[in-house]
Amino acid sequence: MSTVTLTIDGIKVTVPEGTTVLEAARQAGIAIPTLCHDPELSAPGACRLCVVEIQNMRNLPASCVTTAAEGMVVSTCSETVVEARRTILELLLANHPEDCLTCAKSGECALQDYAYQYGVRKAGFAGERHDYPLDESNPFIVRDLNKCILCGKCVRACDEIQGRTVINFAFRGFATKVATPMDLPLGESDCVFCGSCISVCPVGALTPKQMLGTGRVWEMRKVRTICPYCGTGCTIELNVKDGKVVGITSTPEGTVNGRALCVKGRFGYNFIHHPDRLTAPLIKQPDGSFREADWDEAIALVAEKFGAIKTAHGSDALAVMASARCTNEDNFLANKLARAVFGTNNIDHCARL
């Protein structure tokens, strides 16, 4: 593969041809702030926070959409660049509710982090702010368009990850916003509530409703596991606080799914701590009621009954129906149980939920 060598902040960097200046800088350990950039999505070059100065180039190009070229001399932290970034952050904050105290995103908000990093304390441009009503019309996603910075990641995630294109930009100028067709609430749109938009939102504009008020970001322990629902095997992260699962998030590191999940995987976790959930085996009594038992007793009883059926009616009188919610390993064992222990090929799988 051919490579190009460029100089970024005085450091010589060699990268494969076609690499963006942003990626090249990151490879050299130089951090450039971004809001609309996402390696999993197409690059619109919209937020302009990642602008840099490149010798012999007009204006300040956005590094996320500028391809590194041989001999390029890039400055990522010149006075002009820092001034531009500060101004862009000021502009965003001038139209952003200053409610980091109660915002669910506080602690993992890109805008908050960059404002801190660039020392933008107060918006220098007081003026009109958006005053949109909160969209809470559905059980899963809270949309607060007042916090939206119009980076467009949700629009691209809906289109490019989920393939739904339920949302897009509407209106113009200061009135531009992300909207569903006819600007209906999300609950009345074609949204399937996969929540991919939440997973890419850099600010608090899109948050999972069920997690509201359950804890601050830094109080959560993230436990990486596999989604129990179907055979796809999506990586999920349980958000655990005080020993309780209070939410599920996805991670770009998910090998199967990246940040994509379905509505069940992302939002269907309430069964974990549900009072009706079975936590011990139950054995049916002659009067029809159930008695709690331990696992040894229950398994011994089942083994005894299976043995009796096999003796009386033969192996093929038995069949195994496995669940898609079982892991591969569980299903492998069920297979062994059917063929090696029961002696039957009667085994199937529900394939989906």
Partner: protein, 603 residues
């Protein structure tokens, strides 16, 4: 055969030219002259202020502001007896001298019409009339005697630069598209003319649509494209209609379609109507819109020449650029390059609007001075007022002061002065124009038309507009000027597309040339041009008022009190500052006070 040319451009249609045409045909029938005299509806003459315009050939007799009732005189005197109807002649502003011949009018005398040559002189809905004036000869020459490379060289030699505003060399652009590998290529004509006050592209499409089609065909041949789009704004119904007619006629006669002129070259042309977004005049937004998506600009590179419509190599030029191409192919690139300046070749069409006497379209050689355009062609400033500034290049351009009136009009000089050629809108302002208010007007436009994609344009134009509004309301502070300058610089430097990058130009140029007006608004609560309503008070000069009551009777707010034959006075609390009273007063007794003068009223 005698011909009567009646303008049927949008301007003249609005002032009644259709009725004039109908009446004329009726009258000719009645007098049995219909066989001897041909009535032709033409495109725009560019002198819209004087519409409806009627020209009688031969003789080149120019009648203006012709109404239905004038038709019998034209028929009886001019058409039947060759006499001139004096009252319908154009009178030169200033001298008042009546001019008979079209080409003797000052407005036309200094123009050099290459692109507008046919506008007003042929029937745009009749292909034969276009063919009679060497129409499609450029295409013939290209297809039958030149290689594709030679065509590109010819256009490069001409020095033609993009007339949409940015001024990129057209031949070089074609060469990029030619060199882009791809089995499918497109030619796109940008007819999404949206600058306030600009209507040159509309007039070309309405007056000479085949010239644009011919230019596109030549481009298609040169770059290897077999399909083209004309992206025309839906607000131009007449232009769209004439394009459709022209495409149908050209297709019928073998100038469009398969095996054009028997050379094996194929080209089909489609019209895409815009939905009203100014930003779609930006080339990448336009291409996105053709693809059926929301018109939002895309990042360049890749340039359209590499990845255009549906990621195929695409060459996109503006209407006027394409309209120049047939002339270049007919007369040669070096002939074309002999017109204009060293780096800006050929002519440019300007739309003259604002406080200028001769409103209309003027095509002039590059390098002419602003003074010649405004005073010689444009006739100077209306009502004897003083010239103050000219806004060139639409909302992306800049305001140039009278000190720059002798600036040669070419791409580089204008850019150096902080403005830009733009599409060619020239809005002339007089002493009664407030420059802060003008900047506010243009920022209001760019803010409303910002696509909202990039932060600096969407949020930056909003805050700049708010600061300007504050200053015009007398609520500005001196730190606002610094804030404006800082924001303007960042928006210019960081915005994604041309709309955002040039949006601060009206602010930067007014700050550069008219900074004192900003300071007067802020420091003295004074609007020197007496425009900003919050900073002016209407006042009646007690010694001058003769108590005629005209002002009081015309005041819609009942703000003027006073007995007949006694000096009147205006109640500032009730006055809506509409200005009607000033127009009504014959004594010149009513004045607008601003700044310290307003204390006269307070005391």
């Amino acid at each position: 055969m005698r011909r009567v040319l009646i303008c049927a451009g949008t301007g003249c249609v609005a002032s009644g030219s259709r009725k004039v045409t109908a009446r004329l045909k009726e009258e000719l029938d009645r007098q049995g002259l219909a066989e001897q005299i041909k009535v032709v509806n033409t495109g725009c003459h560019g002198f819209c202020e004087q519409g409806p315009i009627v020209i009688v050939e031969p003789g080149d007799i120019f009648y203006c502001q012709v109404q239905e009732k004038d038709v019998p005189d034209i028929v009886a005197k001019t058409l039947a007896n060759g006499e001139v109807v004096d009252r319908l002649l154009f009178k030169e502003p200033g001298s008042g001298q009546a001019v008979t011949r079209y080409h003797d009018i000052h407005f036309y005398a200094k123009q050099q019409r290459l692109v507008l040559k046919n506008c007003g002189h042929i029937d745009p809905e009749n292909l034969d009339e276009y063919l009679a004036v060497e129409g499609y000869e450029g295409l013939k020459r290209a297809l039958t005697t030149m290689t594709r490379e030679q065509v590109i060289e010819e256009v490069k030699l001409s020095g033609l630069r993009g007339r949409g505003g940015a001024g990129f060399p057209t031949g070089v652009k074609w060469e990029f598209a030619y060199n882009s590998p791809g089995d499918k290529k497109y030619v796109v004509c940008n007819a999404d003319e949206g600058d306030p006050g600009a209507f040159m592209d509309r007039s070309i499409l309405e007056g000479d649509p085949h010239a644009v089609i011919e230019g596109m065909l030549i481009c298609g041949y040169a770059i290897g494209a077999d399909e083209g789009y004309i992206y025309v704004r839906a607000e131009y119904p007449l232009a769209t209609h004439r394009l459709r007619v022209a495409i149908a006629q050209a297709t019928d006669r073998g100038y469009l379609g398969e095996n054009i002129l028997g050379t094996g070259f194929n080209f089909k042309l489609k019209i895409k109507e815009g939905a009203g977004a100014f930003v779609c005049g930006e080339e990448t937004a336009l291409l996105t819109s053709i693809e059926g998506n929301r018109g939002m600009p895309r990042v360049r590179p890749p340039f359209p020449a590499v990845k255009g419509i549906w990621e195929k190599p695409t060459n996109i030029n503006n209407v006027e650029t394409f309209a120049n191409v047939p002339v270049i192919l007919r007369k040669g690139g070096s002939w074309y390059a002999s017109i204009g300046t060293e780096r800006s070749k050929g002519t440019k069409v300007f739309a003259l609007t604002g406080k200028i006497i001769n409103t209309g379209l003027a095509e002039v050689p590059m390098g002419i001075t602003m003074r010649e355009i405004i005073f010689d062609i444009g006739g100077g400033i209306q009502k004897g007022k003083e010239f103050k500034a000219v806004q060139i290049g639409g909302p992306s351009g800049g305001c140039l002061p009278k000190e720059l009136l002798d600036l040669p009009v070419d791409y580089d000089s204008l850019t150096q002065a902080g403005a830009m050629m733009g599409s060619g809108g020239l809005v002339v302002m007089d002493e009664t124009t407030c420059m802060v208010d003008v900047a506010r007007f243009f920022l209001n436009f760019t803010q409303k038309e910002s696509c909202g994609k990039c932060t600096p344009c969407r949020e930056g134009t909003k805050r700049m507009l708010e600061i300007l509004t504050r200053i015009t309301e007398g609520k500005g502070e001196m730190t606002d000027i610094e804030r404006l300058e800082r924001l303007a610089k960042v928006v210019k430097n960081t915005a994604l597309c041309g709309l955002g990058q040039t949006a601060p130009n009206p602010i930067l140029t007014t700050l550069r040339y008219f900074r004192d007006e900003y300071e007067a608004h802020i420091n003295e609560a004074s609007c020197p041009a007496r425009v900003c309503k919050e900073l002016i008070t209407y006042w009646i000069h007690q010694e001058k008022c003769n108590g005629c009551t005209r002002c009081a009777r015309s005041c819609a707010s009942s703000a003027i009190a006073g007995a007949a034959k006694q000096p009147h006075s205006i109640d500032p609390a009730k006055c809506s500052k509409c200005g009607v009273c000033i127009e009504k007063c014959r004594q010149g007794a009513i004045v607008k006070l601003t700044g310290k003068e307003r204390q006269l009223v307070k005391h």
